[in-house]
Each structure stands twice: as structure tokens, then as C-alpha cells.
């Protein structure tokens, strides 16, 4: 478990890459209750001007914070978390296991505060493009 005393501004968190496949979006729709067809119906997505099905922004937000929760060891330490959805993650269909998109997330400690919290800034990219803006978490460490 990471201790507050061991963290310094500029520390880099372990980078992670996560899959975003069609099946993940179907599962997420069911678990979250967000059945907007842009997240599972290609013809519908294209009818509203999207290139293909796109991931739920909230799914991307959920994956991105794992860089923080896996690092600090206790998700209950996250006291604030925010993102801006700047670019949709397009999720192509396909027949093999690997079909879909990938999300790569890096994190860096940008502030160490006197109240025992640290701020982590996240960068999330898919296909080489940033998909989240102002992605940051405030974590209270022991």
C-alpha cells in the first residue's frame, strides 16, 4: 500500500492498457442501464453522424481510474474524480477476440497537498489520440 510520505510531485504511476470491445459495451450497457443505441448499434450510430459505435464515456472513465486505484491499493481512498469527454472512442466490430479499441492510460502525481491528499493527472489515449481532458483524481493516502 502506498503511503503519503512516500509520494512526491512528479511520480509516475504504472501505465496500463485496457481493451474496449463490443462485448464490453454490451456488458456495460446492462450493468449501468445506459442503453443508448450509439453504444451498440452501428447503423444507428452512423445515422447520427458517428463513424461507428462509440464507447460509453463513463466506461472509459471507469477504466481510466484503475491506474489510480491499482496504484494506491484502496479505491476507497479516492475522494474526487473528474473527466471531460473530449473525443469519442470508436469501437469497431470484428470476428476475432482482439477486435475493438484499446485505451492506454498514464498517470502522474501533480500535487502533494498538506491535508494528506495527492492529485493525480491522467492521460487517456486510444488510437494515438487523447480521448479525455482534465482527467484527474484526488486521493487521500494513509
Amino acid at each position: 500500500m502506498i503511503k503519503f510520505a512516500d509520494v512526491a510531485k512528479g511520480d509516475v504511476l504504472p501505465e496500463q492498457t485496457f481493451p474496449i470491445r463490443r462485448v464490453d459495451l454490451v456488458k456495460y450497457a446492462g450493468a449501468s442501464g445506459d442503453f443508448n443505441p450509439i453504444h451498440w448499434n452501428e447503423r444507428f450510430a452512423q445515422s447520427v453522424g458517428l463513424p461507428d459505435v462509440i464507447a460509453h464515456g463513463m466506461f472509459t472513465m471507469a477504466e481510466a481510474v484503475r491506474v489510480v486505484t491499482d496504484w494506491c491499493g484502496d479505491p476507497g481512498m479516492v475522494v474526487e474524480y473528474q473527466v471531460r469527454f473530449t473525443k469519442p472512442v470508436v469501437v469497431p466490430d470484428g470476428v476475432d477476440e482482439e477486435s475493438g479499441a484499446r485505451l492506454t492510460v498514464t498517470g502522474k502525481v501533480s500535487q502533494v497537498n498538506e491535508d494528506g491528499t495527492v492529485r493525480v493527472d491522467l492521460v487517456a489515449t486510444s488510437g494515438g489520440e487523447k480521448v479525455l481532458g482534465l482527467a484527474r483524481a484526488l486521493v487521500r493516502l494513509p
Binding site: 464490453d24 463513463m58 477504466e63 484503475r66 476507497g76 479516492v78 475522494v79 473528474q82 482534465l134
Partner: protein, 153 residues
């Protein structure tokens, strides 16, 4: 359709009680692909000082988003949901959501603005236990595409 700034500050009545449950948390953790045992095993959660399994940080959206349909269905506001995009999301936690929580959601319209032909609607949804303890607030910024343009026609 213009968004009427007169709706800033509107607070909707609390929702019916949402009973969280261990299986719902497990289902959500499975759906986001997070294998962390703290979302599944009460013993692991208790070792970290929690009273029960806790929910992942973005789990509150499964309660706050459905609760916010009161805004979409508010006939006075007249929001066209087919034009609504999710622009930003923020959570501020007093503590994590636990499996044994019974929560109500109260939705508040915090701000309405227009810029460059788009409408912006900022909402806050407070999740509070049936005993009145604040757990987490979800802040959503919604973008209403073409809101101002519609206002001119």
C-alpha cells in the same frame, strides 16, 4: 429550443430508495473489467478497514444518471434528449458506496448557459443514505447540441 436560465437552482424531489447490494457491485465491476477483490470479497474490504464490499469510483453513475431523467422528462424545461451529449463528469465522495447502503438521489440544476450555439446544463446529484448521511455527489455537464440555434428559429 432555448434552455431557460430560470431553471437554475431547481431541485427535484428525492428518488425512491436505491438498495445497492453486493451482486450489483460485482456485476458493475465485471462490466468495467476490474478484477479488484475489494469489489467482491467482504473479507478483503474489511482488511482495508471497510465495513463491506465497496463500489468502484464510477458506480454512482448507475444511480445518478437514471435519477437525472427527471430533468429530461421535466415538461417545463422541454429538453430534447436526442441532442444531449455527456460533456463532463465529476464525483466528490464523502466515503465510498457500500453494498449495504440504502440511498436516495436528489437532482439539482446548478447552471444553464449558452455558448457558440450550444447549450450547457450542469447538474448535481446528491446520494444520501436513508439516515441522511451524505455519501457522494455526481456533477454532470450536459451539452445540448444546437440549443441556441433552435432558439432563433
Amino acid at each position: 429550443m432555448a434552455l431557460d436560465p430560470g431553471f437554475i437552482g431547481r431541485t427535484y424531489p428525492p428518488t425512491a430508495v436505491y438498495e445497492v447490494g453486493r451482486e450489483k457491485i460485482r456485476e458493475f465491476a465485471d462490466a468495467i473489467g476490474d478484477p479488484n477483490p475489494v469489489y467482491r470479497d467482504p473479507a478483503v474490504a474489511q482488511d482495508l478497514g471497510h465495513r463491506d464490499v465497496l463500489a468502484p469510483p464510477t458506480f454512482p453513475i448507475a444511480i445518478t444518471w437514471p435519477a437525472a431523467t427527471v430533468i429530461i422528462e421535466d415538461p417545463e424545461l422541454g429538453l430534447d434528449f436526442s441532442r444531449v451529449l455527456h460533456g463532463e463528469q465529476r464525483f466528490v465522495y464523502t466515503r465510498p458506496i457500500y453494498a449495504d447502503d440504502q440511498l436516495t438521489a436528489t437532482v439539482i440544476i446548478e447552471d444553464i448557459s449558452e455558448r457558440l450555439g450550444q447549450g450547457f446544463l450542469s447538474t448535481r446529484t446528491d446520494l444520501v443514505t436513508v439516515d441522511g448521511e451524505h455519501v457522494v455527489s455526481g456533477f454532470s455537464k450536459l451539452v445540448v447540441v444546437g440549443a441556441a440555434e433552435g432558439a432563433q428559429s
